[in-house]
Amino acid sequence: MSFIDFFTFSDPNIRYVTLGCLLLAGSAAVVGCFTFLRKRALVGDAVAHSVLPGVCLAFLVSGQKNPVILLIGAFITGWLSLLVIDWITRHTKIKEDTAIGSVLSVFFGIGILLLTAIQRNGNAAQSGLDNFLFGKAASLVEADVITFSVVSLLLLVTISLFYKEFTLLCFDENFARTIGLPVRRLEWILTSLTVLAVVTGIQAVGVVLMAAMLITPAAAARFWTDKLNIMLLLAAAFGCLAALTGAYLSYLAPSMPTGPWMVMVISLIAVGSFLLAPKKGIIARMQRQRIIQHRMRDENILKALFQLGEKNQSYFQERTEESVLLHRKMNPKELRQGLFRLKNDGYTERKGNQWALTREGKERGQRVTRLHRLWELYLSQVLHIAPDHVHEDAESMEHVLTPELEARLREQLDNPQFDPHQSEIPK
């Protein structure tokens, strides 16, 4: 089965399975967004593990692998686990995380027990129940695909019907109650959707890993946008991408379980979002920090050059790097880098081995010096901080203060002439 064969979807069976996987991953991601925003991610995990005994029991009782019957079994134990968690947190001193942890493992343990018993009976191979742990998309038959797709569509329709109610429920439950929304019923519906979303994935993704397909797309999407509707679309798209890859690999290597592959892909997407997303991503944040660092360093250099000029009233004189270092301690390499950066920006000029301020450079150095001294004066005069304690603070504030705040400082200090150390505050 080659790449082209798969992605032209010429085989009707491939068409079915792929469509089914896309639908279930997309709808699980959309439902997962609300689970995520309601901060119930762990609950999704608990449900995912707790559907296993239900699936096994349904198989044992009915003796056949009818997807609808299995789905009902899964739904029942999934819900039961939530009720048990709720009961434990309400009536004992045990906290919710402990309750989730123990219920999850007990239900899953029973599930594994039943699964082993079924396998011992020798009909697990025909049943395909062994795929329920880690999933096998290629093993979906037409009846499975139809059932799971119908459930997935049902999930999407329900979410779109209750979109505004679920949003409010996740953001401000108390307010929702005061405007008369049936909060308990809405909660019940949202929880049922979560359980169903997990159940649709039991065969293609596997019970264990379905929780990841529920929550990870939402977590990844949150990095890219601050709009809920876009977040839902992105999460669905991420989920579908993972599902498509998983389904393809399931055909390519039929012995390979699908679930882990889907989870690998969605995790890569999440890690990528975490690193690369604009504004919220780690790299963007580091970049911003770097820009600020450079800016502060550059302004410190301009300030030093200006203050050297102040000493002999010769602001545009050429100076060596050593003389700057004598005035202000800094890393010589960083000083050189900064001077070249400032030259590129038109604040300094290089003449031989020496450096001089340009007119713009002098202006900016003067401004930083001015802000530094104004802030020192403000701290000592208005806030009554000892004059020998104000320097450090002014060192950082001189880079932050805006022209608007400067004007207000000037006004409050009545256009002062000298700072607390009797240095003149430049115009």
Binding site: L161, K164, R177, T178, G180, D226, K227
Partner: protein
């Protein structure tokens, strides 16, 4: 000093409420007049927010009842608006200021119905009233504390109610926001609306409110501001005279006794 009114907008009758079996409101009985600005005042842990939540029907009570406009809360929800404490929600939620204000229209819209352009107009004009129209599309986590509080107030305005219950609207906001909010509350009173505010600053209370509830687990006083904010009553509210009551409450919790005996 508990002064009752005729035709009260709120009637709290013998209300007792508790957290984990410890009563935080003890036999509270009060009536509040329509069209006034009312402050709920008392020390930390006095049950101020709990009283507001009990009035809004958000917490179960051990005994007693609350009537609003002479009816139960469920019959008059559309006439009552609640502004929770700012810290009670996660402001990192993916929503803009306008989205939050639009939530104030959900009650009028009802289930399944989409937000209409007219709702959007109302929401925008409410943002304008609180001076936040420039921030309509700003993500809510990027707003300052004072701006977030204004957004909450705008959401309440969008509900177009008769009675407004605000929980600590001045907590952690700048002075400019406090003045803006106060101005809006006064305008609302002028329009005949009743405004109930949980407040912790005694200094401004006398200036802000025309009716005051002094609370410290039990009701100390309730009446017109000039009769209630007296040194004796304040001493009774803030002074340490309630130790026996506090001890009794702790006992109920420690021994896990029921706050009210079950009726046969």
């Amino acid at each position: 000093m508990i002064i009752h009114t005729q035709n009260p907008v709120i009637e709290v009758h013998d209300l007792t409420a508790s957290y984990d079996r410890r009563p935080v409101l003890w036999n509270v009985d009060l009536t509040l007049p329509e069209g006034s600005l009312i402050g709920i005042i008392g020390p930390n842990g006095a049950g101020k927010s709990t009283l507001l939540k009990a009035i809004m029907g958000l917490i179960p009570v051990n005994s007693g009842y609350v009537h609003l406009f002479g009816k139960t809360i469920d019959e008059v929800r559309s006439k009552v608006s609640y502004v929770p404490q700012r810290e009670s929600v996660d402001w990192d939620f993916p929503a803009s200021a306008l989205d939050v204000v639009l939530m104030g229209r959900y009650g009028k819209l009802g289930l399944f119905r989409r937000v209409r352009p007219s709702d959007r107009e109302v929401a925008l004009s409410c943002l304008q009233k609180v001076g936040m129209e420039a921030f309509a599309n700003r993500q809510i986590s990027q707003l300052s504390g004072g701006q977030q509080q204004r957004v909450f107030l705008a959401r309440a305005l969008a509900q177009d109610a008769q009675l407004y219950c605000l929980d600590e609207p001045f907590a952690g906001v700048d002075i400019a926001t406090e003045n803006t909010i106060m101005e809006i509350l006064r305008t609302m009173r002028k329009e005949g609306k009743t405004v109930l505010v949980v407040h912790h600053d005694l200094q401004s209370a006398a200036e802000y409110f025309d009716w005051v509830i002094l609370l410290n687990v039990r009701l100390v006083a309730c009446g017109p501001v000039e009769q209630v904010l007296t040194p004796e009553l304040l001493q009774e509210t803030y002074g340490g005279k309630l130790t026996i009551l506090a001890k009794a409450g702790e006992l109920l919790q420690k021994e896990q006794y029921p706050v009210r005996e079950k009726k046969k």
